[in-house]
């Protein structure tokens, strides 16, 4: 019983992390129809940035935010200089985002070496808390809270602000959005930066649990894909629910069927895709 509860707790925490990672991907794909295969690298880059920032004396939280901003700026550059020239050119987008991920991976290897680096849990969230009579790492609880806060903020942004309205319009019908006067190109840069920044921030937040290591990008990218496919691209609710579903599938799958762990993860994704190509909540059929 203990084991199941701990697994469940870990699943929820992992789900929270996945949400931070995939919300950005979902927005980018939903609005810009770009499969951002650099997303895993942005996650990893944020974590590495934070490693350096922390080693220069910065606290965990300032480092997380700064790293996120740094990756957001980088993302904005990538969008303006590279992706903007490729509207609708699917293959070229795949080539360029994969090419960038190679470059980023190698730069990180050069800059931070090949050994895994752990990010220390911030002091205020060290240790364990008692929840319903069970001890549970406080940091993971904190992670869940962060995910919920970010989800609420994003939801508020998308649902209540003008920017959000423009994003929603762009997701529903980019052509009409342009006609109505929405500065789609500037919107794209903002959304891409936002998505990238979220990924970078997520990388830092995930640091105490996952560490940072070469190959982290390739481990995280498929998970982001699964979440967005399950939940439906362009849908924040979908990403939110999808993240926790994947969190559970991943953790319980590993524990219960170690021989078929990845099958447990990708089989539901396959089933849903085959039955409902737009995902659980998507409005855009992929």
């Amino acid at each position: 019983m203990n084991l199941w509860l701990i697994l469940a707790g870990n699943s929820i925490a992992f789900g929270g992390l996945l949400f931070l990672l995939s919300a950005g991907f979902s927005l980018i794909f939903g609005l810009m129809r770009i499969p951002n295969l650099t997303h895993g690298s942005l996650f990893m880059l944020g974590a590495y940035f934070a490693v350096s920032l922390i080693s220069w004396g910065l606290g965990f939280w300032p480092a997380a935010i700064l790293a996120g901003l740094g990756v957001a700026a980088f993302g904005g550059l990538v969008e303006r200089l590279l992706l903007r020239r490729l509207p609708g050119a699917e293959l070229a987008q795949v080539l360029v985002t994969l090419g960038l991920s190679f470059m980023i991976a190698d730069i990180c290897l050069l800059g931070w070496g090949g050994d895994p680096i752990s990010i220390a849990t911030p002091s205020e969230l060290r240790g364990a808390s008692r929840i319903a009579g069970f001890a549970f790492p406080t940091y993971r609880l904190g992670l869940i809270v962060i995910a919920i806060v970010v989800a609420a903020t994003l939801w508020g942004l998308v649902d209540k602000t003008r920017l959000g309205a423009m994003i929603r319009a762009g997701v529903d019908d980019p052509a009409i959005a342009r006609v109505v006067g929405i500065r789609v190109s500037r919107l794209f840069t903002i959304v891409f930066s936002l998505g990238a920044g979220l990924a970078g921030f997520a990388g830092v937040i995930g640091g105490p649990i996952l560490s940072v290591y070469p190959g982290l990008d390739q481990d995280m990218l498929p998970l982001a894909l699964v979440v967005v496919i399950l939940g439906g691209s362009g849908s924040l609710v979908g990403s939110f629910i999808g993240s926790f579903v994947v969190g559970f599938l991943y953790n319980f799958g590993q524990a219960m069927f170690p021989e078929l762990a990845y099958v447990v993860l990708f089989l539901p994704m396959l089933v849903i895709l085959v039955l409902r190509p737009q995902g659980l909540f998507g409005r855009v059929a992929a």
């Binding site: 129809r33 795949v94 080539l95 190679f102 470059m103 699964v226 190509p277």
Partner: protein, 329 residues
């Protein structure tokens, strides 16, 4: 003119082990050829059918694993090859039925899922696949008594298979079926209205693509005498896709050039430049900026531009004579 170039290239390829002394480089050439087959197979879907698969390493790997398991269970090489290709065809049929439920990015995602499932099985079902440790085989085949254990012999065998593959794909590309396939890529709506069975055309293309991916997988198995989950991972599928896109999808020469680019970068350049991954990534980005259609079509365009600058009056003739990507090289 084109025939002469082709004949010369063929002769050079055939003589390769003779004029390249170092067996290390002959092995590189073998790798280029086998990956070129894989890239050409993938191109049948990506370039001709307009369907991007990010799970094709799954088919490549299923062939290799099936072959390895057959050999290690006592089968002769011939039986192993037939079994492996049969398994690949069955797998390709299954992949196709699932993946063709989606279009555009849905298709891509389904292939990712399938590829990951194949990788998951290879990685975790240790009792069958030996997991991360992979499966090794002891021997290479000896067709007609000629042992392929030596580097030049293996190269020549691979070259022959490569030539058969290229010929087969070229024939299909130039055939009515090939034209139908490209039609479904360009205007699926109209094709249906014209009486074509889009799903079936795509399904058959998938089988054809799977078959040659399996052939490449078996060559890979015999080359390394080893197969591991890494060959089935998402990265392997991505690499194959990059070969196709960087070289130029929808052409015959493009995937071959792309395969050469990636293999050379991975094996040769990596010995001199530690950050070869970065360089490869930068090359891909540069290709997107300067030659988004790929190296081969981009180079043709560049050559035409240069010719036009040098001899303006020749432009008309050149434009008419330049091979269109669809019909051949």
């Amino acid at each position: 003119m084109r025939r002469l170039t082709l004949a010369l290239a063929l002769a050079a390829l055939a003589m390769l082990p003779l004029w390249v002394g170092n067996s290390y480089y002959v092995n590189i050439a073998s790798q280029i050829l086998l990956y070129a087959i894989f890239a050409l197979a993938l191109n049948v879907l990506v370039g001709y059918a307009g369907l991007v698969s990010l799970g094709h390493a799954g088919l490549f790997g299923i062939a290799a694993y099936a072959g390895a398991l057959a050999i290690n269970n006592g089968a002769t090489h011939l039986v192993a090859i037939v079994a492996a290709l049969a398994a690949t065809l069955v797998a390709a049929a299954a992949f196709a039925v699932l993946a063709l439920r989606g279009t555009g990015l849905g298709f891509v995602m389904i292939t990712v899922a399938i590829g990951q499932i194949v990788w998951g099985v290879a990685y975790r079902w240790i009792s069958i696949t030996n997991g991360d440790n992979g499966v090794a085989i002891n021997t290479r085949p000896s067709p007609f008594g000629l042992s392929l254990t030596s580097t030049p012999n293996f190269y020549w065998a691979t070259l022959i298979v490569f030539l058969v593959a290229v010929t087969a794909i070229a024939i299909v590309a130039a055939s009515p079926f090939g034209a139908s396939l490209r039609g479904t890529r360009d205007q699926p709506r109209r094709m249906t209205a014209l009486g074509y069975h889009i799903w079936l055309i795509r399904f058959l293309a998938f089988l054809f693509s799977g078959l040659w991916s399996g052939v490449a997988g078996m060559l890979f198995l015999y080359y390394n005498q080893f197969i591991s989950p890494q060959a089935v991972a998402l990265g392997a599928s991505a690499e194959a896709l990059l070969m196709v896109i960087s070289g130029g999808s929808g052409t015959l020469l493009g995937p071959i050039v792309g395969a050469a680019l990636v293999v050379i970068m991975k094996n040769v350049v990596s010995a001199y430049i530690v950050r070869w991954n970065f360089v490869l990534g930068a090359i891909f980005v540069a290709i997107v900026i300067f030659m988004p259609e790929g190296i081969v079509p981009g180079s043709v365009r560049l050559a035409r531009w240069c010719l036009a600058k040098l001899r303006p009056q020749v432009t008309e003739v050149t434009a008419a004579a330049t091979p269109r990507p669809e019909s051949g090289l």
